[in-house]
Each structure stands twice: as structure tokens, then as C-alpha cells.
Symmetry: C2
Subunit: 159 residues, 2 copies
DNA sequence: CCTCCAGAGTTCCTTAAGGGAACGCACTCA
DNA sequence: TGAGTGCGTTCCCTTAAGGAACTCTGGAGG
């Protein structure tokens, strides 16, 4: 329902989930990623209401995650594609595929498989430290304040 | 609002976002991850309504993402901690931190920094192919059907 | 013993977001 | 000219989100 504005919080998780914190948005991005790019195709594939789909697409275009381009001017037709910002967001989806495959796939196994074009193998995404290259786990990480951390109001008033 | 049941879809993204597809849940997990474990602390830190917080916590415990344990029996007090399933889900949060830091941080820079205890350096999470170890990008991946892909109903009827 | 406080939820109420169905409009094709 | 397709809008109803106030339990303090 989103009465709270997560996008303004001083937290990259909140800001990301201001966009992704709503299942349809994630699924729209997934579909565009796998090549479903037109309104009606998306609507059929997802089973979402046209209203919600229209809203999500407009928001994603607004945010610069998707781009809307005409691929035919007569009749006017358009399609949605991922921008760089958008394909980068797909990483979050890939991380969630890894989790879902491990913890929510059940007996049937993963519903989809990922093939890395670089090496040609079936694979899954693994999170690694950008510095040392080791696999990252939640319990090997400490969080510290960064430059964009909030300045409490009582201090901000004095600036 | 979630009238649609994303958890039943044959898609690991949908299943993951059935849980995470709602900003408060992500923030609750973040807080538990950074060590905020008690109901009132969470409520104060997040500014979420107690009702929504109670609902989210109950659901996460139900799903096995969080565990609720008493840390004092007299007076009865409890705290929430991440299970293995939960800490694994934090990976998705780490991926979203990387995206948010890059695309939503603005001039101020990232609100928080991650230090990898393994190497001691400030770092960020990078997605890599579990097979060849190369960095994974959305556009280097092909998606194929997996064993858990849906069986269309007209076929399922015959089994 | 009586009152006060903290932790941890619950209950109630209002409002806005979700979902479906129908409508609109531009263009094409038989 | 009438049906079909692509892409949305509009209307209306229902349900969940959010806030505030209330409850209940079990110490502390005087």
C-alpha cells in the first residue's frame, strides 16, 4: 500500500525496495529481461490487471529502469526495454533466483535454469566480495556508517 | 495488497518476492541482521506501526526465516534471530545494497558501508558465476526451463 | 500493597491500493 | 464495413496498510 516513502530513507535497501518492494514490479522486470516486451504480452504472461501493469510500467519508465520505444510508427506500437539501471537491477533478481531455488523450489527442483553465456555452463549467481573475491555470507559482514548516513535534524538545523 | 498468490507460481523470483515483495519485510530483515532483535527496538527504529510489524514478524517466523526465542523467562522476553534460511535471504539484501548505492545514493554517497570480516576491507557484493567465477551481468545470461517448470493443466490431468 | 513502567502484542478505524470488467481509440486487414 | 489487435483508461468494489489507542504480563520502587 505504500503510505510510507521508502525512497527517501537513508538506506540503500529501502531505496531499492521502494521500487522492487512489490511483487509485480519484480515480475515485470523478469519478463522484460527474458524478452517479453510488449504490453499485451506482459499482461497475458503475468495475469496482472491491465491497470496495475500500466501503472508499474509508467513508474519504471519514470524511474529510468525501463525505456519505452516505438518499434513501429504506423500503427504506433512500442516496447519496453531495460536501461543500464534496469539491467543492473536484474542482479537483485538473480540473487533472488538463487535463494528461491534453494529454499522454495521443493521436490520439483528449480523452475528455471540459468546458463552463463560466458562459460556456457548452467550456473547460479553467487555473491562475492568485490575486494578479495571470497564468497560473501551475511554473517561475515559488518555494517558501518557511510557518507550518506542521515544527519539528525538537531544538527542539520545548525548548518 | 497481494490478492495474487505469488508463492505458488513456478518461478523462484515470484516465490522470493512473495516474501520480500513488501518493503517492511526487507527492512525488518535488515534490522535483525544488524542486530536489532526486539519488538520495541524494531518498532522504534523502523517507525512502522506495531500492527504491521507484528504481522511481518509472525509471517517470517512461520516461514522459517526468523526464529523467535526467549532470552529471559521472567519476565518473559524474546528476540528474533535469523535462521539459515534467513541469513541466506540477506544475500538478496546485499545485492540490493549494491544497486541502491550505485543508482539511488545521490551526491551524499552510500548511507552505509559494508566491511568484509574475511579480508577486513570495505567492499560491496558482486554477483559471480558459480561455475567460472566471472562477474555476472543480466545480458550474459540465458534462461531455460528447469525441472520444476509448470506442467500445463491439460497434461497434468492425464497423470 | 499500590502504582508505574517496559515489553510485546491486539483492536479499531480510515484511507488508499489492488483487481476485474468494461470502455476508448488508433490502425489494419479481410 | 465489421472484426481484430495493441495499448491503455475509467469505474467500482474489496481488502490490506497505517496510525492510535488499548491490553496484558511481570517486575521495580516507595
Amino acid at each position: 500500500m505504500q503510505r510510507t516513502d521508502f525512497g527517501e530513507m537513508a538506506c540503500s535497501i529501502a531505496r531499492t525496495f521502494d521500487i522492487l518492494g512489490e511483487p509485480w514490479t519484480a515480475l515485470v522486470l523478469r519478463d522484460v529481461f527474458i524478452g517479453i516486451r510488449r504490453f499485451d504480452e506482459l499482461q497475458r504472461d503475468l495475469g496482472v490487471s491491465r491497470k496495475v501493469l500500466a501503472e508499474r510500467l509508467a513508474r519504471l519508465v519514470d524511474l529510468g529502469v525501463l525505456a519505452r520505444r516505438g518499434y513501429s510508427s504506423r500503427p504506433p506500437r512500442h516496447e519496453y526495454t531495460l536501461t543500464e539501471k534496469g539491467s543492473d537491477l536484474v542482479s537483485v533478481l538473480l540473487a533472488s533466483v538463487a535463494w528461491g531455488d534453494r529454499w522454495a523450489a521443493g521436490e520439483a527442483g528449480p523452475p528455471a535454469l540459468l546458463r552463463h553465456r560466458g562459460c556456457g555452463e548452467l550456473t547460479h549467481a553467487e555473491l562475492r566480495c568485490a575486494r578479495c573475491g571470497d564468497v560473501l555470507h551475511a554473517d561475515g559482514i559488518d555494517v558501518e556508517d557511510g557518507p550518506g548516513a542521515v544527519i539528525p535534524d538537531r544538527i542539520k538545523e545548525r548548518l
